[in-house]
Symmetry: C2
DNA sequence: GCTGAAAGGCCCGGGCA
DNA sequence: TGCCCGGGCCTTTCAGC
């Protein structure tokens, strides 16, 4: 991937609804050339999709937390991601190096809902949990530099 | 915010480029009614923006890590987010409860780049760091349920 | 707040350099 | 590849209810 593709990717990471016309102006290419490149980037999977960026407080999910999980039985097969996928409060699941096996990012309506969610996580995946509550988020989802 | 707004928000969180025509079909409203609602949701800040979802491996940032930071001098004013904002490798910064003060999510090209970034973080914000490397990401950025 | 229509702009093919 | 062009769809606005 070379320079103009990088530029397109960064622009769309910053504004996912930027029009092809604006993209063309920014890159110095014609509209159809940009169009072609974006299609290729999507087809190759470099751009996996588009998403609205939400204000989680405004949509009623003001409490964010990171939940690190560790299997109770280290010998059991590790399919925690599948077993937890049905819980919509889990926004992301990362397999990590270190003492714990996964870090989950969760969003809930209230401390009570967090408590309930943690119980569901422990029961569904047979894990212990360690939770870090987010107090505020100075920034999030910044576009990369490339 | 009521039911149809919620529905629109979830749909756009799942596909940020969904057309107003499709949105209208899904919600059962007319195109202009949907358009009006989306504009209002944006104006109110419920929808903060739109973003392309990238394959970070494909764009050349295959290494993700969580970096927890703690001030060296607990008495010093805590302006770590501002002092770190210039580092583009930092995708997100969360202030958290617990032993550490912030959790950063970073994306870099290589272990070497991570090492260098950690030095920059420690130097820029006068903090100690604890790093958890991400091995794989089963899922990320899932839309909420609402 | 919703509807419907109308104008303008944008998307997105095909064809050619 | 990148550019030009044309048809069709989408966006956006504006009365009218």
């Amino acid at each position: 991937m070379e320079d103009i593709d990088r530029q397109i990717v960064v622009l769309l990471a910053g504004d996912g609804r930027m029009s092809f016309t604006d993209l063309a102006r920014e890159t110095g290419l014609s509209v159809s050339a940009v169009h072609q490149r974006v299609r290729r980037l999507q087809k190759r999977g470099v751009i996996k999709g588009y998403s609205a960026v939400l204000d989680h407080e405004a949509v009623g999910l003001p409490l964010t937390a990171f939940v690190s999980i560790k299997p109770i039985d280290p010998a059991a097969p590790d399919d925690a991601p599948e077993k937890l996928a049905h819980l919509d409060e889990i926004e992301a699941c990362h397999s990590v190096a270190g003492e714990e096996s996964y870090i989950l990012k969760v969003r809930v309506t209230s401390p009570g809902a967090l408590e309930e969610l943690l119980q569901q996580i422990r029961a569904a995946a047979n894990v212990s949990t360690r939770t870090t509550v987010v107090l505020s988020t100075p920034y999030e989802g910044r576009p990369p530099r490339l």
